[in-house]
Symmetry: C2
Subunit: 340 residues, 2 copies
Amino acid sequence: MIIDCHGHYTTAPSPLQAFRDAQLACLDDPGASPPRPPEISDDAIRESIESNQLRLLRERGADMTIFSPKASAMAHHLGDEATSKAWTHVCNDLIHRVVDLFPDHFAGVCQLPQSPGVPIKNSIEELDRCVSELGFVGCNLNPDPSGGHWTSMPLTDKYWYPLYEKMVELDIPAMIHVSGSCNANFHATGAHYINADTTAFMQFIQGDLFRDLPGLRFVIPHGGGAVPYHWGRYRGLAGMLKRPPLPKHVMRNVFFDTCVYHQPGIELLFKVIDIDNILFGSEMIGAVRGNDPETGFPYDDTKRYIDCLDLTENDRRKVYELNARRVYPRLDASLKARGK
Amino acid sequence: MIIDCHGHYTTAPSPLQAFRDAQLACLDDPGASPPRPPEISDDAIRESIESNQLRLLRERGADMTIFSPKASAMAHHLGDEATSKAWTHVCNDLIHRVVDLFPDHFAGVCQLPQSPGVPIKNSIEELDRCVSELGFVGCNLNPDPSGGHWTSMPLTDKYWYPLYEKMVELDIPAMIHVSGSCNANFHATGAHYINADTTAFMQFIQGDLFRDLPGLRFVIPHGGGAVPYHWGRYRGLAGMLKRPPLPKHVMRNVFFDTCVYHQPGIELLFKVIDIDNILFGSEMIGAVRGNDPETGFPYDDTKRYIDCLDLTENDRRKVYELNARRVYPRLDASLKARGK
């Protein structure tokens, strides 16, 4: 089977955004009562999935997507912790309904109710709810809840450890994924996303996080940001910083997806990164939509690029399925329970 | 001849740093008098260059370096505008002396006396001095003088236009180069540098800078940050933003160096970026020092990677010489005046 590790619910029915708009409007009008959770029918969810993500999964020949709320809409920088909690609850519940309606095609990953300056331990309750009660298999962790001002601590700081310890206990990975940018310097999907990926990886080189928490696992999306292209730089910097070689120091715990939207980029990724560290992902339907005029095919149909590589059947299975089952053991268990 | 477009004076004699230390100490002691410019002998400069950059130029088979002050030491975020001006003046004067002592091997590029929140037009006087009086051929422009807090305007904002207009008048390019980071999230050479390269490129996609100023030219260092690896993403985002195709919209004015420290990265760069947009550079002696244990050769000996490519003689000359002469016309004129 073919598992896409990186999809967001970017096509949610419009009441979700209406709820968010009403919620944000309340921030300017403290007298207003907070909106009630959006009313969305099963049919509306079915329609939004069947005509979009599920249609494309089938057309492109993949089987299922590890699915989370729209990343750019997490916007942890808007409002306060209560805003973030209410919004996160609604978004995660909607993912749960998608998974319930399409259990063979979607597995849930939650966003967290992060908020700038708020202890990360406050996100544990929602993580636990999503994993232990709703059956989610992972979470998205925003390394910059300020939305482009980078006011939080590096991911190796003790600040984050309470969440990490819960992740290890639950045996789930986090995808490191920023949200929208409120810094005019950073275009969200063209700069902020890629920068965050690169930044996180370098933080892991500098720190000793995985010595402290060997069971912790992260997926760095968008092909690892700039890292594979600058793999020599990172190997060299690790040496200069007297860190162990990267395979031991970082790559037992860090995985890259394949959200790289052209053939030469995918080729580089597979050339420099060990096959055990690469998970198929497309971020479909996401950041880059439309067809590449040079190929005639969608930019984000990353399976097409991978299928052009000269991989052994074993390596192909690792990238499409086995690595995802290993990094997301709760997904593996759920698939096995259904005989898959 | 072979021109390295990216070198910094990272090996300056110790009185330079002593001057800087004294200058910064004054910030905490307003009663103290500012230090006098450092006294550095010609012999000390010769020694610092001959045993380092010039030795390596010769060993690696290149001829000259476009040379600027140590980028990580610009630190525009320290002190105020007066601090930045005094430090910049001293650093640029030292580059001028290197060029005077080794005119066949070094061409000068200046740092600018930028300071957070200060109008960029205040940097014009020093730019003009360096180019018109000292014979420099370009400048380094810091897109984030706050040192990792990104409080300035995007490079496409009118804020920057006074400097750009002077650059066009002088017919010089700028290398976009941040300095050290005072944000704990960003390792300077492992995250901040690469992020800035990526960020600048995306800003150029969003804006219309080169329609306004068709004569403006930028070198984005470190192989263009993450851009070549994500070339499909950038082509796709340009389309989504209804911008013209990148060859017309950005790549008439933007050039990438070859500071990518492994063979597969260099191969990707040359596969996706037009040969006319690639300038040989190494940033030697700079961010990544030491030998790559996988090759036995220095990480930053980028000429070695390029020499492994199957380039025509004409393309080879473009990357090693002709593109640099075109992007830095004042260097070309100075070389021609000396019969080169």
